[in-house]
C-alpha cells in the first residue's frame, strides 16, 4: 500500500513542475545575469528601464558572485545562456576569447559618446580589436582612512599620506595609541582584493605586473623593481605589527570588519565602501585619498562590470537597446551615480557625481585615470586563491622570502600564459 501511496504522491509533486510552461507573449523579455553583489543597485536600474520601455522587459537573475564565471560559461556552452550578462571587467577578455559573447563592434563604433566612457573598461571590452562589451558600472580603489584615529594619533586628517613612508609613519602613530588599534589592513589571502588595492601601489610607482596582451603577454613581476619594493613595504607593515594578525588568513570574507569597527586607521577598497560604511556604521568618520606610489604620484584599479550580449541571445537588438540606454548620460547619472555606484562615463563621473562631495570627487578622478589588468588568464593568474599572484603575496609578505616569491611567481605566470 505504502508504495502506491508514495507513487501517487511523487506524481502529485511532479505535476505542477511539468505544468510550468515557458511560453511568453507580449513584450520581448530579456534575461540579464549579474553577480549577486550588484543586487543593491541593479534592481533599480532594471526597474527604471522597464518603466520607460514598453516593448522590452528585462528580468534580472542574480548568480552567486563566486560562481558567476563557472555558471555563465557552462550555460552559454549549453545554449542556455541569458541575453545579457553583467561581467566583472577582468573576465571579459576571457569570455570574449572563449567565443561566448557577441561581437558588437559596429554598434559600439556608432556611439556618439564613445570617448566619454571609462578608458580601463573600454580596453577590457576589446579582444583582438573587436568590441564584445560596453562599460556598465564603475568602481575604483582608493585609500580610506579613519578621521577620528588620525586625530587621536596627532595626525592631520586633511593631509592624508601621499607616499609609502608616510603611510608607514601614520600607521605606526595609530598603533602606538594601543587599545587594539591598528594602522593598516588588507586581506592577505584574497587575490582579487589585492589586485584591486595592491597593484595600484606598483602602478603608481612606475612598475607593472603584466606586459603586452594576447599570446605575446608576459609577466613582469621580476622585471619591475617596484613589485619588489611594494612587497617589502607590505612586509615592513606586517613585521612592525601595525597590521592586525587576521590579515594573513583573510580571504576577503572579513575584509571590511576591522575598518568598520573603527580599530584600523587605513584600508584600501572601492566605491562600494562609501555606501556600506555610511549606511551600516554611521559613527565611522572616514575620508578617502588616492593610493600613492612609493615617492608620490597615485594610481587606482578601475573596476566594476561590463555588459555584454551572449552569443546565444535570440534578441540581440533588444539587448542592444538596453545597453545603449544603460550607458546613456541620464541612466548613468540617475540610476548608477545616485545609487552610490561610480558611473562609467567620464562626463558624469567628473560632473554630477563629483559634485556630491570630496569623497566622490576623489573616486571619480581615480576611476577616470585608473587602469585594470588585461589578461585572458586573469583568474588563473590573479584571482585564484592558489594562483601565482596570491601565493607571491603570502610568501613575500608573511613568509619573508621576497626574492624567492617573485621568481616563483614570474615562472608560474609565464607557464600559465604560455599554456594559453
Amino acid at each position: 500500500m505504502k508504495t502506491w501511496a508514495a507513487a501517487v504522491l511523487a506524481l502529485l509533486v511532479a505535476l505542477p513542475l511539468v505544468a510550468c510552461g515557458r511560453t511568453e507573449s507580449g513584450p520581448t523579455t530579456l534575461a540579464l545575469w549579474a553577480r549577486s553583489d550588484e543586487s543593491a543597485f541593479l534592481q533599480s536600474v532594471v526597474d527604471a528601464f522597464n518603466r520607460t520601455h514598453t516593448g522590452i522587459k528585462v528580468r534580472m537573475t542574480l548568480i552567486p558572485t563566486g560562481n558567476f564565471v563557472q555558471k555563465f560559461g557552462l550555460a552559454v556552452a549549453g545554449d542556455a545562456g541569458p541575453d545579457l550578462a553583467s561581467i566583472d571587467l577582468v573576465y571579459v577578455p576571457f569570455f570574449a576569447s572563449a567565443g561566448v559573447l557577441r561581437d558588437i563592434t559596429p554598434q559600439v563604433r556608432r556611439l556618439s559618446y564613445l570617448d566619454k566612457l571609462s578608458p580601463a573598461h573600454m580596453r577590457n571590452a576589446q579582444y583582438g580589436s573587436r568590441f564584445y562589451a560596453l562599460p556598465f558600472s564603475g568602481d575604483a580603489s582608493v585609500l580610506y582612512y579613519n578621521v577620528d584615529l588620525f586625530r587621536q594619533a596627532g595626525l592631520d586628517p586633511d593631509r592624508p599620506p601621499t607616499t609609502w613612508s608616510r603611510i608607514e609613519n601614520a600607521a605606526t602613530a595609530v598603533k602606538k595609541l594601543g587599545g587594539g588599534r591598528y594602522g593598516f589592513y588588507f586581506s592577505g589571502a584574497c587575490g582579487g582584493c589585492n589586485v584591486f588595492t595592491f597593484a595600484p601601489l606598483i602602478w603608481a610607482s612606475g612598475g607593472d605586473i603584466l606586459r603586452g596582451t594576447g599570446t605575446s603577454q608576459q609577466p613582469s613581476v621580476a622585471a619591475s623593481p617596484q613589485v619588489r619594493q611594494a612587497l617589502q613595504f607590505y612586509r615592513r607593515l606586517w613585521t612592525s605589527g601595525v597590521v592586525p594578525p587576521q590579515a594573513q588568513t583573510d580571504n576577503g570574507a572579513n575584509q571590511f570588519t576591522p575598518f568598520e569597527t573603527g580599530k584600523v586607521a587605513m584600508f584600501a577598497t572601492g566605491a562600494f565602501g562609501i555606501s556600506t560604511f555610511t549606511h551600516d556604521f554611521p559613527n565611522l568618520h572616514f575620508k578617502v585619498t588616492p593610493l600613492p606610489g612609493r615617492d608620490g604620484g597615485s594610481s587606482s584599479f578601475s573596476g566594476g562590470d561590463e555588459i555584454a550580449i551572449s552569443r546565444t541571445s535570440q534578441h540581440p537588438d533588444a539587448a542592444w537597446t538596453f545597453i545603449s540606454w544603460a550607458t546613456s548620460m541620464r541612466a548613468q547619472d540617475r540610476y548608477f551615480g545616485a545609487a552610490g555606484v561610480a558611473p562609467i562615463r567620464t562626463d558624469v563621473a567628473l560632473g554630477s557625481y563629483s559634485a556630491k562631495g570630496a569623497t566622490y570627487a576623489t573616486l571619480a578622478k581615480a576611476l577616470v585615470s585608473g587602469r585594470a589588468v588585461y589578461s585572458v588568464q586573469e583568474n588563473a593568474l590573479i584571482n585564484d586563491s592558489t594562483g601565482p599572484w596570491t601565493t607571491m603575496i603570502a610568501d613575500a609578505v608573511f613568509g619573508g622570502d621576497i626574492d624567492g616569491a617573485i621568481s616563483r611567481a614570474q615562472k608560474a605566470m609565464s607557464n600559465t600564459i604560455s599554456r594559453g
Partner: protein
Amino acid sequence: MAIVLSRSKPAPHRAAAADSYRIRDVMPRWAWWVVCSLVAALFLFPLAMLVLTVLKSPAEANASPPAYLPHGISWGNFGRLGAAGSGVLHYIGNTALVSAGTTVGTVIVSTLAGYGFARFRFPGRSALFAVILATLMVPFQALLTPLYMVMQFLHLQNSLLGLTLVYVTFQLPLSVFLMRNSFAQIPTELEDAAAIDGCGSFAALRRVMLAVVRPGLVTVALFAFFASWNEFLAALVLLSDDSRYTLPVFLTTLVTGKLGAIEWGVLEAGVLVTMVPCVVIFLLLQRYYVKGLIAGAVH
C-alpha cells in the same frame, strides 16, 4: 579506565550480566550530570552563537573582537531574508518540493532495487551491484557538464523536476546498498510464511517486508532528504531562474558581497532557517536511523 574500575566494583542496582560495564553506574549521579551537561554545552555552543549572531545588528555581528551577547534584539537579518528576491518562504517552498520529490523517488526505487538484489538470483547480479556501488566513486563535479547537456536535451534544465531527478540519481547507489542489506538480513522464513498465506513476491514485499525494513527505509529517506535539502552545486548550475532557486543558492546570492565579503548576520539567519526542518525531522526519526545504518553489518 572506567571499564576496568567497574569490573572490581559491580553496579549495585543492576544485574551483573550482559552490558554491566557502564560508566554511568560507577559514577555518582551528580558527576554524571555534570559531565553530560558539559559535553552538551560543548556541542550546543556553536548553535547558541548562531542564534545570538542572528539577533545582532550588522555592526555587532561583524565586531572584532566578537561581542558575545547582542545589545538588544534586532530582527533586521530576518527582515533581509524575507525581503530579498521572492522572499525566503518561496525558496523554502522550492527546496521542500525538491527534497520531498527526491525522498519519495529515492525510497521507491531503492526499495524495489534493494529487494531485487537481496532476494532474486539473476545473471550478472553481482556485477550489476558492483557497478552501482562504483558510481559512488565518481565525483559529481566531473559529471557537471555532460549532465547539463543531458538536462538541456531533455528540456529539464532550469526545472525543479529535472533537479529532483538528478538528486534521486545521486542518492541511489548508497540507498540501494542500504536497502539490499536491510532486506538481506530478514530471514527468508518470513517470506515463506507469507507465500504459504498466498502472497506473491510483490504482495510479500508490500504486506510483510516493508514493516520489517522500516529502519532502512527511514535511513534512506533521511539521507535523501538532507542531501537534497542542502545541495548547492547542481542547483546552482541547473537552475537559472531566480524564482526557481533552492535555499542554498538563494542564501549564497544573498550573503556574498563585494570581493567575497560575507554578511555574517544574514548568513546565520539563513543557516538557522535551513537547519530547523532538518533538526525536527532528525529528532522525530532518529530511533530508526542507527538501526538502518548498521543493517546487515552485524549479521
